[in-house]
């Protein structure tokens, strides 16, 4: 029994100037209906000013099993953060 409508992922821009953020998913027959359902499901309390919907099947995700090789290399590169560098307190505006 799988006559489900297409699954869409929903992204909402909460305020002008902010990025769209993933809020959840829903089923819809087409993209237009997905937008309408997203409005009813995810913006009942003025949570958004703009909605994106994307077919879930179109999302390519990284594999959790590869998380280590993908993200571990960044761990020992603390010199990418400003706090890595010791600057005397007397030096201002830096």
């Amino acid at each position: 029994m799988n006559e489900d409508w297409v699954l869409y992922e929903v992204f909402i821009r909460s305020r002008s100037g902010l990025e769209h953020k993933h809020v959840g998913s829903l089923h819809a027959a087409d993209a237009r209906m997905a937008i309408e359902h997203a409005r009813d499901t995810y913006t009942r309390r003025q949570e958004g000013v703009s909605i994106w919907v994307v077919r879930s099947s179109d999302i390519v995700a990284s594999d959790p099993a590869e998380a280590e090789e993908l993200f571990e290399p960044a761990r020992d590169k603390v010199y990418r953060h400003p706090t890595f560098y010791a600057i005397p307190e007397d030096v201002k505006n830096i």
């Binding site: 029994m1 799988n2 006559e3 489900d4 409508w5 699954l7 959840g24 998913s25 829903l26 089923h27 027959a29 087409d30 209906m33 009813d40 499901t41 009942r44 309390r45 995700a61 594999d63 959790p64």
Partner: protein, 331 residues
């Protein structure tokens, strides 16, 4: 079932590998890491979550019915707008939860089918009727109050999609409880007839609300494992006690009497001690013998059937507009 397989060294190695995976999974849980849909998880963890999230989703959907009963008869436009918003929220909560369950590999169609066929369970509380307007107040105050008590710890549940759905739900739920209490407050400050109506609603909803937390710890089959997996953070009895402790003073403020002659305050424990709960009622309602079990399922089935042509029309429309798009892409 593994006894035979264990005879071969390959199977023994596979078994050791499985144990190792289970151990690493438990370590992740113990470190308070969230488990996400694509992560490896034990089959029993997956099934436990599917069952719990689905039951929760069904409860939200069936929960729309007892309150929907009063939308056309709400006593003012304000009350009516509030009640519509609340019932719409319950529908939304059902949607968040179905989506969370689907991340575990069960389809929406299967979930709906389980509800409509009567195989899936939902909260026993929704099998009680809403006889008067005061019931709408009592449901918001007590039923949503008990639900919040249950749901707040679920925001920290180990399964990411469920925890995130619960955060959203809890944010929306607190208006539900407050609007219910406001109705009770208005009635209890009203005429003698209105006060009596409020008291009657409390009388009927108090015990079923306490039963919402599930069987007592001694009889709860799933509690220990669910707590180890951090699906559950507090036991049924702990949550029930918390609910009683916060709710009794709220009833006192309304000037209403909690319908429990044995209820007393234990000064040394700093808790209210309730009288015994009639679990035979709980199990009867769960088995389908509550006042409205049949009516609730019939209403869901009717909604599903009468909505069928709309779903089919929408699918046909989508299909029709897909074709020119596909043709354009192919060209």
């Amino acid at each position: 079932m593994y006894t035979q397989a264990l005879d071969s060294p390959a199977a023994a190695a596979a078994d050791a590998h499985e144990r190792d995976r289970l151990e690493r999974f438990q370590e992740r849980i113990d470190r308070d890491e969230k488990i996400e849909p694509k992560d490896w998880m034990p089959e029993a963890y997956r099934q436990t979550l599917i069952r719990q999230i689905a039951q929760h989703a069904h409860s939200e959907i069936v929960g729309m019915l007892p309150e929907g009963n009063w939308i056309t008869r709400a006593p003012s436009l304000r009350r009516k707008a509030v009640l519509i918003a609340k019932v719409q929220d319950e529908g939304g909560h059902g949607m968040y939860l179905y989506s969370a369950a689907e991340t575990l590999g069960v389809s929406r169609g299967q979930l709906i089918e389980q509800l409509l066929s009567g195989r899936a369970k939902y909260s026993s509380i929704f099998n009680y009727p809403t006889l008067t307007w005061a019931d709408i107040g009592a449901i918001g105050w007590l039923v949503d109050g008990a639900a919040i008590m249950n749901q707040i710890p679920l925001c920290r549940c180990s399964y990411g999609p469920y925890a995130r759905a619960m955060v959203r739900i809890c944010k929306e739920e607190s208006f539900h409880q407050r609007q219910g209490y406001e109705i009770m407050l208005t009635l209890s400050r009203g005429s003698a007839a209105q006060r009596a109506m409020a008291q009657d609603a409390l009388n009927r909803w108090w015990w079923p609300s306490l039963m919402m937390f599930g069987p007592s710890d001694a009889h709860s089959v799933h509690t220990a494992q669910s707590m180890r997996w951090k699906i559950k953070r507090f036991s049924n009895d702990e949550l029930r006690q918390k609910f009683i402790d916060v709710t009794v003073p709220q009833a006192e403020f309304l000037g209403l009497a909690v319908p429990d002659p044995d209820l007393r305050w234990d000064e040394s424990a700093q808790h209210y001690v309730p009288g015994p709960i009639d679990w035979s009622e709980f199990h009867a309602v769960l088995k389908g013998e509550g006042p409205c079990n049949r009516e609730r399922l019939e209403a869901r089935r009717a909604a599903h059937e009468t909505g069928r042509w709309v779903r089919e029309a929408a699918a046909a429309f989508a299909e029709k507009h897909q074709e020119p798009l596909r043709a354009a892409q192919a060209g």
